[in-house]
Symmetry: C2
DNA sequence: GTCTATACTCCGATAGAC
DNA sequence: GTCTATCGGAGTATAGAC
């Protein structure tokens, strides 16, 4: 992968975070990357191809950030590690906000551009499994299915909160608090699931009506 | 409000659900509504104004649907009522899908179009309070702050799951299951909050590390 | 691989008649 | 209030030189 190519992808993430997928203009991207418009069409067939590659790039970068953070600030215990991983996306650092915004944009546009779906689905599965694994380290006796379900909910919650934060209707501290409490609630739930293995996949329903 | 105006707004929701806010072309909208392009600019100042009005329209319509559903299928008890309200958005009926898609699109585009934010924030606050109230009827002894926090999480979870469903990476039945379990988990959490009033705003943290 | 210059399409917005 | 006709700008993509 050439330097130029990477520079274009980095710039694409920046411009998408600034203007959205719909607001991305090849000309503005060219300026941001310090290259000509034509070079973008040379490296990526067209606009759609560019978006696909950008999505992959953003996903990779998010993985790198997670690894970097864990190295820089080693979490004390599995619960802290899980919190760190999930709260990582809710930070007002330039590159984090950029990544979150670009990811949200690309996912939103996938509702209408089918080409992005497979890339998106893959990243989603990996991310959910990662969270499920970390939940498993916090609650080793909880059943796999319960871990997977909790991970699904926690990652969906994160995306919902992130969307609200990014569109300005939920202050960042509130989003972080909501996420932290959401983790605590799910972890407590898993503790009960582990303690009462008799409760089947529909957890604690009978006693709620 | 004239018939034409309403017809345009209805058509706008339809076209947005079909092509996205990004894909909305005033010409296609005119065709869908059976009017001329110029009439759209007559009734709504510009594209941005049209989007603002469409957001308000979609919100109103969602409220109407909720009321209609409650009348048509009276829920048995407060928990069922809550479930019905939250699961309403996760249904593959044309008008529901249209509403959800349009709402998701408009929220996503609000990241870059500041004008939509106030309308969006207002609808969000109302919706969260509504859910908090219904949670309060399920768990009358739970503190207000806990109800509000649970409502925030549940509505964010709904939006996260809905986004995944609409962009095709999460099958609808899975989304519905996740939502139902999410409700159960939060309701169980509120039961503990009511039972142990000593536990402060950071729920069950101390015993988790 | 990278640039400059340009072709051509599409679309938002307005003018002006009825 | 509603239409037809049109303008002007913005934006994607390509041609062709280096």
């Amino acid at each position: 992968m050439s330097d130029r190519r990477t520079a274009i992808l980095e710039a694409a993430a920046t411009v998408i975070a600034r203007r959205g997928v719909r607001g991305l203009r090849v000309e503005e991207l060219a300026e941001e990357a310090g290259v000509s418009k034509a070079l973008i069409y040379y490296h990526f067939d067209d606009r759609a191809g560019l978006l696909r590659r950008t999505l992959a790039f953003v996903n990779n970068r998010a993985e790198r950030y997670t690894a970097e953070q864990e190295a820089a600030d080693p979490p004390a215990g599995p619960l802290r590690r899980l919190e760190q991983a999930l709260l990582l996306e809710l930070q007002d650092l330039p590159h984090v906000r950029e990544n979150s915004t670009a990811w949200g944009e690309l996912r939103a546009s996938a509702v209408f551009e089918t080409e992005l779906r497979s890339e998106l689905a893959l990243a989603s599965v990996i991310w959910i499994r990662e969270v499920a694994d970390q939940l498993g380290e916090v609650r080793p006796t909880a059943p796999e299915s319960a871990l997977a379900a909790s991970a699904e909910r926690l990652t969906a919650l994160l995306e919902g909160l992130s969307a609200r934060w990014l569109c300005g209707i939920l202050p960042l501290p509130d989003a972080r608090t909501a996420m932290r409490e959401g983790i605590a609630v799910e972890v407590a739930h898993l503790a009960r699931r582990a303690a009462e293995p008799s409760t089947e996949d529909t957890p604690s329903r009978a006693n709620l009506d």
